[in-house]
């Protein structure tokens, strides 16, 4: 499985390492031509305004729209913002997922946090349940609302949506690539493989 990681800015090398640990091939995508031969794409964490501007400048908005017509895309944090259709401010977005996202929803860096999260969609253990996923949230967004056809995969205790899936598309507010737990990457490879 060949997974591209959008390498305009952000923690793309962490995603590449995670994909390689789970047995996939991973490569950096900076220009539309880098998308050739890929089965799926990850948009990493970073600054969504930076990633958006560079994507516009180098013709990636249209190229990624085309890519998304047939292939899977996963966005983490800034990547989730980039996949969304609305962030209630003016910045370049792919608009592929029917979700509205609030940027920096918890506040500034002082409010960045780690927490154990229940993500029932992840692979079940012997007891029939998925063990909690240790999630790292950095100046993180939340998914404020989802359209019909979007499945909510995880919420915080207060109800905030922090992971969602719409068919081939996956969005997470947190950063599985910052941990050694590769279950979300495995889940994404499952989506890429048609699950």
């Amino acid at each position: 499985m060949n997974i591209g990681v959008l390498a305009l800015q952000g923690d793309f090398s962490e995603h590449i390492q995670s994909i390689r640990r789970t047995g996939g091939e991973a490569s950096e995508v900076r220009l539309p031509r880098d998308l050739a031969g890929l089965n799926g794409l990850i948009v990493p964490g970073g600054e969504s305004t930076t990633i958006g501007k560079l994507a516009v400048q180098y013709g990636l908005i249209e190229a990624l729209h085309d890519f998304g017509k047939t292939r899977a895309i996963w966005g983490t944090c800034a990547g989730a913002i980039f996949l969304s259709k609305d962030v209630r401010r003016h910045q370049p977005l792919l608009g592929l997922m029917d979700i509205t996202v609030q940027r920096n929803a918890f506040g500034r860096q002082a409010e960045s946090f780690e927490i154990d999260l229940d993500i029932p969609a992840l692979a079940r253990e012997g007891n029939g349940r998925a063990r909690p996923f240790h999630a790292v949230f950095i100046r993180a967004p939340i998914i404020e609302s989802v359209g019909p056809g979007v499945e909510v995969l995880a919420r915080l205790e207060n109800g905030s949506i922090v992971a969602a899936r719409q068919g081939r598309f996956l969005a997470t507010s947190f950063h599985p690539e910052l941990t050694r737990d590769d279950r979300v990457h495995q889940y994404f490879l499952g989506i890429v493989g048609g699950k």
Binding site: Q9, R30, T49, R108, V136
Partner: protein, 295 residues
């Protein structure tokens, strides 16, 4: 579900989100907007850029909180600010303002000539400068969550940035070939904690993100530092002391992303107007060199 804030993972993690990006020095909210519009991944809020600190002379201190707050209000990207080396109360003030990252910086006049801030005492993450691997690992031992090579700020001369990046990255490469028993002596030679030396050898890189700083003034300078192997760049005086800051800022952002693509670097380098007036590091009296501050 128990929430933990101010952890090593979230401190180092924010720096990981900045990788591949350009952090720009700004002195006004208008500058901050220009930087954000150009694609900066963060801004450093200052009263004066390093070139002006140099020209102004006197004691350089933390900026007026009012300026920092106005810059924080102006942009959605992370905002950093500088405290003096060892000035832990300036750091407490910056933390109280809600700043995203503190730069314990040699560009300001040191407040302590023996001790850096104990950065473990803070929830806000710190970035610190270094000239070599030993200095980088000492700062990480004190709790720095991000490192930048110092270069020589406010000069527009990239030579020191290259020297310091080559020193750090070269030592990491040498470390790869060392036998386990040689690490103890090496740690002693570079005056760094053994455990961090060992971790660096195992990782094949610093345990935290490593940017370059000090003298980067052109898109090619930024790409040079990236090709040498740093994770991103700080640009201080190089943007807002140039003829067309918005255009140059955007060009440096694009060259940092496409740092291996000489065609793109050539394209973005066209018609950028006047670069900042440089000052050769070799012409600066050694007492005025900022990089030698810090221990």
């Amino acid at each position: 579900m128990e929430t933990q804030t101010g952890t090593v993972a979230v401190k180092r993690g924010l720096a990981q989100m900045l990788k591949g990006g350009v952090i720009m020095d700004v002195v006004t909210p208008e500058h901050a907007k220009i930087a954000e519009d150009a694609g900066a991944c963060a801004v450093m809020a200052l009263e004066r850029v390093p070139a002006d600190i140099r020209a102004h002379g006197g004691v350089a201190r933390m900026s007026d909180p009012e300026i920092i707050l106005r810059i924080m209000d102006a942009v959605t990207i992370p905002v950093m600010a500088k405290c003096r080396i060892g000035h832990f109360v300036e750091a407490q003030v910056l933390e109280a303002l809600g700043i995203d990252y503190i730069d314990e910086s040699e560009v300001l006049t040191p407040a302590d000539e023996a001790h850096h801030v104990n950065k473990h005492n803070f929830k806000v993450p710190f970035v610190c400068g270094c000239r070599n691997l030993g200095e980088a690992l000492r700062r990480i031992a004190e709790g720095a969550a991000m490192i930048r090579t110092k270069g020589e700020a406010g000069t527009g001369d990239v030579v020191e940035a290259v020297r310091h990046a080559r020193a750090v990255l070269g030592d990491i490469r040498r470390l790869q070939t060392m036998a386990e028993e040689e690490l103890f002596t090496f740690a002693k030679e570079i005056d760094a904690p053994y455990e961090l030396v060992k971790e660096t050898k195992e990782l094949g890189r610093l345990p935290v993100v490593n940017f370059a700083a000090g003298g980067i003034a052109t898109p090619a300078d930024a790409a040079l530092m990236m090709q040498l192997g740093v994770d991103g760049v700080f640009v201080g005086s190089g943007i807002f002391k140039s003829g067309d800051p918005a255009k140059r800022a955007k060009a440096i952002v694009e060259a940092t992303t496409h740092f291996r693509d000489a065609k793109i670097i050539a394209d973005v380098s066209r018609n950028l107007g006047e670069p900042m007036v440089g000052r050769q590091v070799n012409d600066i009296p050694s007492a005025e060199l900022l990089a030698q501050r810090g221990w």
